[in-house]
């Protein structure tokens, strides 16, 4: 079993829809949770960075962490065609914060 599981998609939604992206994990030591966006032929770009449980909002993006269920989510409101990309969840433990474990990524396509 992988430490971090992420549905690869592809996920296709119409413009303006709310998108929900999710990851599950098995290591209860994970404390730092991140979401990266990766456009084709580009490096991953950090979108959200959270510590421990709870919600964090930044513009149209909301990250949620539920440590009791070992489940994290990224919500995108009012989705735009420019949001079409691969979204990678990532996480690390306090004791080894430099070692980030990535999900395999979800391909998202927003239809105009």
């Amino acid at each position: 079993q992988k430490e971090v599981e992420q549905d690869p998609g592809p996920l296709s939604v119409p413009e303006g829809a709310i998108v929900s992206l999710n990851c599950t994990y098995s290591n209860s030591a994970f404390q730092y949770f991140m979401w990266y966006r990766q456009y084709s032929r580009k490096g991953p770009e950090l979108l959200m960075y959270t510590y421990s449980s709870g919600n964090k909002e930044d513009g149209r993006f909301t990250a949620q962490v539920d440590k009791s269920s070992k489940y994290i989510s990224l919500f995108i409101r009012d989705s735009q065609p420019s949001d079409s990309a691969t979204y990678l969840c990532a996480m690390s433990a306090l004791s080894s914060a430099s070692k980030i474990i990535f999900g395999s990524g979800t391909r998202l396509s927003i239809r105009p």
Partner: protein
């Protein structure tokens, strides 16, 4: 500098040749990371530098892979006697210090014929 810079952006070479990939981190970032990303897959950790030393080399797949960092700046990842399985995108990231959010370059696309 503006961001993490990697060169070359693309590299095609024959099986058995050695290749050297370069990473220029964001100025002032003390931590530097190398990852490998195979087609359609997530990122696979290779090695991490804090300053010029590498506390964690656990991800290097074999002794054909090595990396160094000098002047707490530029890093090179060297793959000796390349194999077709080494074909992937090699990504470099840097962070202000260990445990801080990592910022990525656009990678080197390596193809082994």
């Amino acid at each position: 500098g503006a961001g993490v810079s990697q060169s070359p952006s693309n590299k095609v070479t024959e099986k058995g040749k050695d290749v050297e990939l370069r990473c220029d981190p964001i100025s002032g970032h003390t931590a530097l990371y190398w990852y490998r990303q195979r087609l359609g897959q997530g990122l696979e950790f290779l090695i991490y530098f804090q300053g010029n030393s590498a506390p964690d080399k656990s991800g290097l797949p074999s002794d054909r892979f090595s990396a160094e960092r000098t002047g707490e700046s530029v890093s090179t990842l060297t793959i000796q006697r390349t194999q077709q399985e080494d074909s992937a995108v090699y990504l470099c990231a840097s962070s202000l210090s260990s445990g801080q959010p990592q910022h990525f370059g656009d990678g080197t696309r390596l193809s082994i014929l």
